[in-house]
Symmetry: C2
Subunit: 327 residues, 2 copies
């Protein structure tokens, strides 16, 4: 198996003849003049996915985690650059399975591979490490930034919160879910759904947005900080799936359980702010994009995040989201 | 040490307030409308650099390896996206040292950091893995592609060949060089010099170009294949540094030694083709960019690479360059 054969046979077809990708047979790609929204995410075996996860799913998670960043910015995806560091003794069949996952999601999201680099670890047992740089076209209203919100803006979040974390728990058999819920939750862990249609629909309407990947509370903190405000979130209003509701009901402390859901990562939903005067427009944008959107709080004077129970008292939040560097 | 502190304190200053980088406080960067030449390279500890290499040098090698790709395309560097997967228990001081290396070369090459991702391995002893996506502006004559050369075009290469490989040999004490040569050769291994000025000077003049990173013979093969031709290289004409000449003189078989130099990787020189009618222009471009350029052969009918001795007979080449997937 040669590096150049792999690039020519397995990866070059993924360029889909995109002009400027040169069929991966050049040192660089050429992107034509236009504004570009660009994002980069890493996925590492053992950190962001399980070492035993099927590689086609890993490929699709890599694509979707990156597209989620573009979605929050309202951007329309165009393509990506891919870096792969394979474990020693990787089999060609594994690389091909990975590429099939890429091909499937490329088709689904109408994107193409533009370039990259592929290499192999020499250290024993070093994990598969994936890096992708995605680019897209900003919406005509301009990219939705993380800052730009005003005091009193409402906070919204798409979909449901905490499902990927529970999915991981289900896969690790740390909690017994029903078969249906287990399938749905682990699906959320393996295969996030980037909210591209919603992101485009709220461009120009949302005053600030962020994709929820570190956990709702942590990402609300990032958004609040970028706007010099505090995020107040109504715990009961945070949207929950059927599986999450089942899990919460089984926990001793309901508030602690809700805080846990809001502390898990990997949701890949969009958290955004919009003025109260725009509530009807947000509902319409959600409807038009066929995406559930919940109003969960607002931006107030102060800093940090308050996660409030039904009496409006702050719940002590045990974790503030996933941080790779915190022990 | 928190991931977000590291990003804010150590990496955000590297954006140098580049508009669109949002001080690394957004999910994505916004690049303004223009043609972009984009390239991506990975560096992995144990594969592309030694685990004990000082991290500021590793940072600078990461920048330079990527800039070398842009140089071969004639592009003017603008900025980059950075992905870092740190080993477990990395110290903040190590990350800061790495960032100082980035800052130094950013200053030198007038580029800025636009975004990225930083995370940490959970697997024990997993190596530092770095990924960078660099972008630049194409030359006004258009990006120099790998294809575009004609039968009979001359082949040129910049600088000297094989020094980084000998530098690694010197660092591993596999050959005893003079102190001066050892310093110079190991410098070539640690700190390549991307040929940006030359790359810009030969844009519109070179009919095809590639950066020499896999080894002169291997990269000549890539260039030849992209043009549907054969590369014939005159072994004696391949440029050698003083240290390389000393090493060749100490080898039993002079031709085998020359082939080894042309098989080593990490040269980060530019190999390019130009019509014989342009010889004077090439000399002038080399002079204007203060870069040594040697005419080493030509493109002929056929395929592959012929590495020829002084009688014009092909030397049996033991290796065809570095391939991460070949055992």
């Amino acid at each position: 198996m040669s590096e150049f054969d792999i690039i020519r046979d397995v990866f070059a077809p993924l360029t889909k003849d995109a002009p400027g990708a040169f069929n991966l047979a050049d040192d660089a790609a050429l992107l034509e003049a236009r504004d570009l929204v660009v994002t980069k995410d890493l996925l590492v075996a053992g950190v962001h996915f399980l070492a035993k996860d099927p590689l086609d799913l890993v490929a699709r998670k890599l694509i979707r985690a990156n597209l989620s960043d573009l979605a929050a910015k309202g951007a329309k995806p165009i393509g990506y650059f891919l870096g792969c560091v394979w474990p020693q003794n990787v089999k060609r069949a594994s690389i091909e399975l990975f590429a099939r996952g890429l091909a499937e999601d490329q088709e689904h999201f109408r994107i193409a591979l533009y370039g990259g680099d592929t290499t192999m670890h020499t250290a024993k047992a070093a994990p598969l490490t994936l890096s992708a740089t995605f680019f897209g076209a900003p919406p005509k209203q301009g990219m939705t930034a993380r800052s730009g919100a005003s005091l009193g803006d409402d906070l919204y979040v798409s979909g449901t919160i905490g499902d990927a974390g529970l999915g991981l728990m289900a896969l690790r058999k740390e909690f017994k879910f029903t078969t249906v819920d287990k399938a749905s939750l682990s699906g959320r862990y393996h295969l996030p759904e980037p909210r591209l249609t919603l992101g485009a629909a709220i461009a120009g309407l949302a005053t600030a947005a962020i994709d929820v990947s570190d956990g709702l509370i942590a990402d609300a903190g990032h958004l609040a900080r970028a706007n010099g405000l505090r995020a107040e979130i109504d715990a009961v209003a945070t949207p929950r799936s059927q599986g999450a509701a089942y899990w919460v009901a089984a926990q001793q402390n309901r508030w602690k359980a809700l805080a846990s859901l809001a502390g898990f990562g990997d949701d890949y939903e969009i958290l955004f702010a919009a003025p109260p005067a725009m509530r009807r427009s947000v509902v319409m944008a959600a409807k038009a994009s066929r995406t559930e959107v919940s109003r969960i709080g607002s931006l107030t004077r102060g800093d940090g995040v308050l996660f409030l129970d039904e009496s409006g008292a702050p719940i002590l939040v045990p974790e503030t989201g996933y941080d790779h560097f915190r022990k």
